[in-house]
């Protein structure tokens, strides 16, 4: 079996306050990661979460304070950057201003004394790979931001590294170019088959490009998983809050069932999925559900009226048309406001007891208009929801700001 491309075992990094006596700064706290060969792996998190420090430890610019880093199965804690089969694409590109594009790309090969003939061929190939074949003789400052980005990419790839590290490489580009480059990067990664470790704070970028994502916060890994896992099954409050829009419903367990849990949110009984951790009735718990998994209507469809317990069988899949969602749970609510956001309408409603939730409704021609104060029912499939322990270790107070409110930050004042 092939060894892992990169493995981190309980890696921590402490910076002693250089300069102004800041004391110690725990940038990375006991991170475990296992990155497979050929994987597009993303470290995602807000600034200061330790993702860049982790990347710099893999590159060799920083050495871990404790824990072990394995590159291709070999312990590499103290190996200097120039002895690692790892190359980096920097956020600011870090192109050498005194060298031409071709000399920049050929830098790594020149350092390793690759013969001139071979060097020229490989530089040309690398430049063609990033579609810059004609610009070899230019200086970096004669190129646009996007072109400089590609040069940085070619300069790293030409060395055929085992792992390519990318530190927010698209951060300096404008939105349109960023989207194009996302596709190109993903495409490139598939073609060259190199392990990519990508650092970003942009969740959309992470979800679009990655095979797997590690969500980080406060120097710790909060969750590792495929984009679908991260999005649909957030492991904790932080992940649920950070990735996409989410509703948080704080409640107490009323009853536990085979396939669902009933919790009391305010004065309303709400059905949630079964928890994947032990729960006792009366315990505090947070229910998480995405706005687009909820539907809103003026009244219940007859099949769902009280007494009709069994959910309808799953409808045959026809991807061409949006399927009516599977529905087996209901909440009563009042409309706070509804905001048109292009393809969707965002309906903010409030439950009995004051908990606000957001429902994302796809805009179709026959849509109803919901007005403030309208009585509505919110329907959903309980298995789309997820229960989290109310107070979770590994997340901080900070991530609990906005308890009981929609995660999109729609202030109640805006509804008035």
């Amino acid at each position: 079996m092939k060894p892992l491309a990169v493995e981190l075992k309980n890696v921590s990094k402490v910076f002693s306050g250089v300069g102004r006596g800041e004391g110690l700064m725990h940038a990375v706290k006991g991170v475990d990661l296992q990155i497979k060969q050929g994987e597009f792996f993303t470290m995602l998190g807000p600034s200061g979460c330790g993702k860049t420090t982790t990347l710099r430890m893999i590159a060799g610019f920083e050495f871990p304070t404790s824990g072990d880093i394995f590159l291709n199965g070999e312990l590499s804690n103290q190996v200097p950057p120039y002895k690692r089969a790892v190359n980096t694409v920097f956020q600011s590109y870090a192109l050498f201003p005194h060298l031409t594009v071709a000399q920049n790309v050929g830098f790594g090969l020149a350092v390793k004394r690759v013969p001139k003939g071979e060097r020229e061929v490989r530089v040309r190939e690398a430049l063609e790979l990033v579609k810059l074949g004609q610009l070899g003789e230019r200086k970096p400052n004669q190129l646009s931001g996007g072109q400089q980005q590609r040069v940085a990419l070619a300069r790293a790839l030409v060395n055929r590294p085992a792992v390519l590290l990318l530190d927010e490489p698209l951060g300096a580009l404008d939105l349109k170019l960023r989207e194009t480059m996302q596709h190109e990067l993903k495409d490139l990664q598939k073609r060259v088959g190199i392990t990519f470790i990508y650092v970003t704070h942009d969740q959309e970028e992470a979800l679009t490009m990655s095979d797997r994502i590690a969500v980080m916060s406060e120097g710790r890994v909060q969750q590792v998983g495929t984009p679908e896992q991260i999005y649909n099954f957030p492991a904790n409050h932080f992940v649920a809050d950070f990735i996409g829009d989410t509703n948080f419903l704080e409640g107490k367990v009323v009853s536990l069932h085979e396939d669902r849990t009933v919790i009391k949110v305010g004065r309303e009984d709400v059905t949630a999925a079964r928890a994947n951790f032990p729960l006792m009735p009366g315990e505090k718990v947070t229910m998480v559900i995405r706005p687009e998994k909820l539907a809103v209507a003026r009244e219940l469809a007859p099949a769902l009226a009280p007494g009709a317990e069994a959910p309808p069988p799953a409808a045959p899949v026809n991807p061409a048309r949006p399927q009516p969602p599977r529905v087996n749970a209901v909440m009563n609510a009042r409309v706070l406001d509804s905001v048109f956001v292009g393809t969707d309408t965002r309906v903010n409603v409030t439950l009995k007891g004051g908990t606000e939730i957001t429902v994302l409704v796809r805009n179709l021609e026959d849509d109803e208009d919901f007005k403030k104060g309208d009585k509505v029912v919110v329907t959903y499939d309980a298995s789309d929801s997820r229960l989290l322990p109310a107070a979770q270790l590994g997340t901080t107070e900070e991530t609990y700001i906005g308890n009981g409110e929609p995660a999109n930050g729609a202030a109640p004042a805006a509804a008035k």
Binding site: N87, L95, V111
Partner: protein
Amino acid sequence: MRQTGKWLGLGYYLLLLLFLQLPILLLIVFSFNDSVLLVFPLRGFTLQWYRELLQATELINAAKNSLLIGLVSSVVATVLGGAAAIAIARYNFPGREFFLNIATLPLVIPYVVLAVALLILFQALKIELSLWTIMIGHTIINMPYVMLIVAARLSGFANNLEEAAMDLGATYWGTLMRVTLPISMPALVAAFLSSFTMSFDEFSLAFFLAGTQNTLPVYLYSQLRFPSRLPLAVTTAAVVIMVSVVILLFSEWLRRVGTSRTGKGG
């Protein structure tokens, strides 16, 4: 209204220019004047003083000394100051700010004070005064200039250029030779040239720290006692100024060429 302001401004500028540059211009003019006395009206054009200059062995010796001191002290100042600049601009070591303050201190200490201090130090250490002691003095005053010029240039480049080089396989020395030195080269050359000019013109330190051999400024000063030697002193000064101007223009040109090549990505 605007026009008046413009003319006023121009007039002020010309006056300022005249005030600053007229003495120097006079110096050059009188170096060609056919008279021992530095008075108007001018007597006529002559190259006599320049001819005498070539035969004044003492003066030429002093000039050679100045040249030697200038070259050696500038090379040493450029190497040491450049190294300090790289340390300050590229590494975050404990005591960095303290080091920066100490290293730039010679900028604010009057040269006379520094000269007396060094004189006492050399005597305490029983070091005989010679051209070497002047070189040491000039190296000390030039180092902070070199350091600031080179550090200013390095801080204009992204900090991770060196990291990028190491990432691509260059060792510490490889990085220094292939990246750090090439990008600081224009600043190093400019710093060397300004150091040289500064050393060449410097009087106080050279006066206090000279042994049996004089530098050019000290020699010229000593000649002022003899009225008949005045034209020679004037002519020497004229030559020095012309050479200095050429060197300064060259170093400024280098600095500009350097900055226009900085190329911070955008």
